[in-house]
Symmetry: C2
Subunit: 213 residues, 2 copies
């Protein structure tokens, strides 16, 4: 009974089912956030029986985790692009400041542009056995490492003492992350994006000023 199940596939084997499911899941996450990535719907879109997913993912949490990883990669790529746009001139301090600014802005812009992906990226409580292999973009760096890079430039430029540099990632990250989430799934939901972006500018300046003792 080789009745091709209602959709396109001709061969019994799909050939690339894992990736297809992941792509479907990613799209669902993109336009609906983490709660929208539902296993059965993914199989339906791909044109395959629900159980087929279990040959490639342990369960839906596993699928969601893969989607989440992809989302983080996209975020990393966005930051990387913005960071690449700032060129190292002769003024090291300016360079450093612009780098930090770029990371913060890219982070927020991504959150505004791709709310579903952003929320998905940080929706799941990550496993302790965190294998952050795939959380990277072309440079092979995840968002956290890109932020670290910018902060290192601040250290190099003498804008940050060695002591203040320690753990500075978390301070900067928290600020921007908080604003993004207050907008995306918090009480700032109704605030227009322009206002958020204006706040973002002030926020990054605040971090820059306040981060050094």
């Amino acid at each position: 009974m080789p009745k091709a199940t209602s959709t396109k596939r001709k061969t019994f084997r799909h050939g690339d089912l894992r990736n297809a499911l992941l792509a479907a899941g990613l799209e669902m996450a993109r336009k609906g956030g983490p709660d929208a990535v539902v296993l059965r719907e993914a199989t339906r879109q791909v044109g395959v029986a629900p159980n087929a997913a279990y040959r490639h993912f342990a369960n839906q949490a596993d699928l969601l985790d893969a989607v989440r990883s992809a989302c983080i990669s996209q975020l990393a790529a966005a930051i990387e692009a913005e960071l690449a746009a700032v060129k190292a001139g002769r003024d090291k301090k300016l360079y450093a400041r612009r780098s930090l600014m770029a990371v913060g802005r890219a982070y927020l812009c991504f959150a505004m542009r791709e709310p579903g992906m952003f929320r998905t990226a940080f929706s799941v409580i990550p496993d302790i056995h965190g294998d952050n292999k795939a959380n990277t973009a072309s440079l092979g760096l995840n968002p956290f490492q890109l932020l670290s890079m910018a902060l290192d430039r601040m250290l190099d430029a003498g804008l940050l003492s060695k002591k203040d540099r320690q753990g500075a990632e978390f301070l900067a990250w928290s600020s921007v992350h908080g604003l993004a989430l207050l907008k995306l799934e918090g009480p700032l939901h109704a605030m227009p994006v322009e206002a958020i972006e204006a706040l973002g500018e002030r926020l990054v300046q605040m971090v820059e000023r306040g981060i050094s003792q």
Copy 2:
């Protein structure tokens, strides 16, 4: 006379079903976060048929929203208590600074002490028709308004210019909120609470320094 026994009630009418369901939901949120508040389970604990809930809540989102509101009230109460502990001495600047510190610390402490409630408090995208009636504690102020109070003291003490005061709530709030969420449902999940609290201290200092231009 209808007694709300947790096991089996005598009367047909419950008498206080709405509150009972809300209490059950709040407890589930407390020990499992927003995803743990499930309508059927609440009715089961109260000893009532699932449909009975629909006489008091439009749907489970409505129930969850009520639970969320209760969580915010608890957060407000925690902040209020910490804020009440700082006394106004002769040094207005110290008073203001300690007030801001207290709000930030209370916010983070609550997040660490009651992760389920905290996550629930900010899990739902709030309705635009925000009726923030119940989001308050004894003072009748929600967390945002308490933060505003602390910032007003900064303004009074001359630690903040009028211009910098505008929208400063969002800057301070974002920072602390971000740290809390990075810990509770983000990549900082594995970081020990002591480290988070140490970061919190630094964070509030950063805000204090960076918030004024």
